[in-house]
Symmetry: C2
Subunit: 142 residues, 2 copies
DNA sequence: AATAAAAACAGTATTTATTATTGTTTTTGG
DNA sequence: CCAAAAACAATAATAAATACTGTTTTTATT
């Protein structure tokens, strides 16, 4: 049968995500974890990320920016994505049961869950007048 | 300057999407449009889809299934994605201003808009007991 | 209608994110 | 300690989307 074996790489990946509030991508995990495990393979990162996600130890989130992100908070919650720098943040509120109830009322199928994405400018980008430009090159995040 | 020139391919793409309620992907547009334009290039489809999206003639939506989809309804509205067959449908309700107001209250940045995705089983998949299996091979959609 | 510059095209190559394969190393129950 | 199973590193492969190149269409101006 399917016995899960220990791996220090997986532990390290889990630990890394747990210490992050910025919803890192697989590539960010890879780049960072390489400091401790210079030989780790990108495939290993991907495999362990899906494994952790299916074990319910991290949450995989799609923000519509073409990359999957990973969140140590496994509870269902809303997210925000900044149109300035592309950063992803949590929205600290409970998912609305009302919203789901309303949707259920008007939809001819069964609704089991929902997510929401909010768009706008993060606090940093609000201050600096250089939006639609700086930061939009992505890449900078580590 | 940037003068937009007519193209029958673009018209055809716009028309195709306008006649659809199933939020087709670029590839679905490509496959279908090839009946009328057998020589059309996939690049042309992608280029015109982004063009139409930035002109506000169609809406580009990311449902977290790894493909961009296109919607003739350019108004902001919620979507549903079926965990059985992967189909995407509209949720016929107004986006909640309350939800956005609540999020604004608890978030330290500016919120300009939001979207929501609902998950569950569509009417078809509800009936047929063959969920977590049939249909989940995707591909079938045309 | 003729024409020429700009835009759009088809065809193809490339990039990016992710998954699959393969042969080696690690883990762990007996 | 040992062997089966799982995980690994390295690499190849796939899928979605974008970029490039040389040709065809559109259209404003004659």
């Amino acid at each position: 049968m399917k016995t899960l074996k220990y791996s220090r790489q997986r532990e390290s990946i889990k630990e890394f995500i747990a210490g992050r509030r910025d919803h890192p991508t697989a590539d960010m995990v890879y780049t960072n974890i390489r400091r401790s495990y210079p030989n780790i393979s990108l495939g290993t990162v991907y495999r362990n990320l899906s494994l952790l996600a299916s074990l319910g130890e991290v949450q995989k989130i799609s923000c519509g920016d073409g990359v999957e992100r990973f969140d140590p908070n496994t509870e269902s919650h809303y997210h925000f994505i900044c149109r300035g720098c592309g950063c992803v943040q949590d929205i600290p509120m409970m998912p609305s049961g009302d919203l789901e109830a309303m949707a259920t009322k008007v939809f001819e199928g069964s609704i089991e869950s929902h997510t929401a994405m909010f768009y706008g400018l993060c606090r940093n980008c609000q201050g600096s007048g250089l939006v639609g430009n700086a930061g939009s090159d992505k890449k900078a995040e580590t």
